[in-house]
Amino acid sequence: MSDTRIITGNEAAALAVKLVEPNVIAAYPITPQTSLAEKLSTFVEGGELRAEYVRVEGEHSALTVCISASTVGARVFTATSSNGLLYMHEQIHWAAGSRLPIVMCCVNRGVGAPWSIFNDQQDSFSQRDTGWIQIYCRDNQEIIDTIIQAYRIAEAVYIPVMVCYDGFVLSHTMMPVEIPDYGKVREFLPPYKPSVDISPENPVTVNPVFFPWRRENAEGVLCDGYMEKRYKLQDALLKSTDTIEEVSTAYGQAFGRDHGGLLWEHMTDDAEIVIVGMGSIAAEATVAADSLRKEGIRAGVVGIRVFRPFPRKAIATALKKAKVIVVFEKCMSYGCDGGVSSDIKSALYGTGIEAPMHNYIAGLGGRDVKARELADAVKETITRIDSGTEENETTWLNCHTG
């Protein structure tokens, strides 16, 4: 019998973590992640989860605890949001450079200043270039399933995974979620084996200074310089797309739910207008696409699930037939453009796809984005294109200044 409960995104995440049985959890509470950290500490305190919960004085330490524990072979978990994630920044790079399969939830929230406790994706977007895999979830079922997948991915490719989901929109909203079976999770997720066994019998030096050049070590072995090590991270990240897709398929076979490996599509087969989004805004866009179809506009949706490594090929394939591309996004590369749309443009360069692309910055700091508003924006885009505007400046949806 399946176990389906009506729970929040944070509860779904907590139950996933309980199922993967980490050895060490270190997290510092921050809105909107708080109820996730609370739930996990309750599990540990009540003996339901046999893990060490390390109480730390801040997020930098939380990730540092995870880095240390993961280095010596522990499965670890942490979670944070917004400025907490930014406070980790140095160690986020460190975790990826150390090739540690840490899994972290980022419950997406806008970053200060000015303060906002509400949702957008600027926090995890600003950690885009740290060498982590980033996966964005669109509903609570996907959260629980993705966290379990994240461990299998991370521990296969030795790259940390950030599982991102929208604060409040998902973290505090209740939905029916099917809880995966404990025994099946054990089968799906083998125990974690660190890339190097560190023990008193096999002492190693971890992360000493690396030099610009390659050199022989004391035993005459030719060792990487800094650049080789960084190249290996990039190489592994690019190759991890295969692993991510395999794990998604395997999960679908084992649990009956495949949320799409790198991205998912909604009615794109015959779509002329393709809406692209990441996380819950993409789910909202499916409602918009359905209503546009009722008005005779052939719209479809591409939901980006994996933002890093950026699925260039999959994106180009999904957008091949689009006549117009409309991107809705909750993150901004200030002084440039929306983060998602810039990456899509770079993925399309040289592919021959020349559909006009309009992008909308939407829902920053928790501003509500309704399906109707997305549909209206799409219609506005069509009007603009019909009147000869091929590409236009980024539009900030529902933003009124002056």
């Binding site: 190097v196 030096t205 070590n217 030719l222 060792c223």
Partner: protein, 97 residues
Amino acid sequence: MEQRDKYISGICTPAIGEAGKTGDWSDLKPVIDHSKCIPETKGKAACFLCWLYCPDGVVTMSIPVEIDLDYCKGCGICAEECPPNAIRMVRKVECDE
């Protein structure tokens, strides 16, 4: 075939000189006046403050006290700490001349 690094991350086998002979980075080198050194004058284990304070661990706790100049960074802490001022920091170029 040359042996290649097997690690994916910045891990290496602990060994003396893992980072190469770092001693040649320094401008100064410590020179011991053994006639002033306490364990040597007393003929028994004593003092060894140079051994204790050396941040690079390149001083031996032995009679006579020895410094491995292949890895000494020339910081001068040993000379600063030595109670009878038995260690003097000397410019390497001057030594060469």
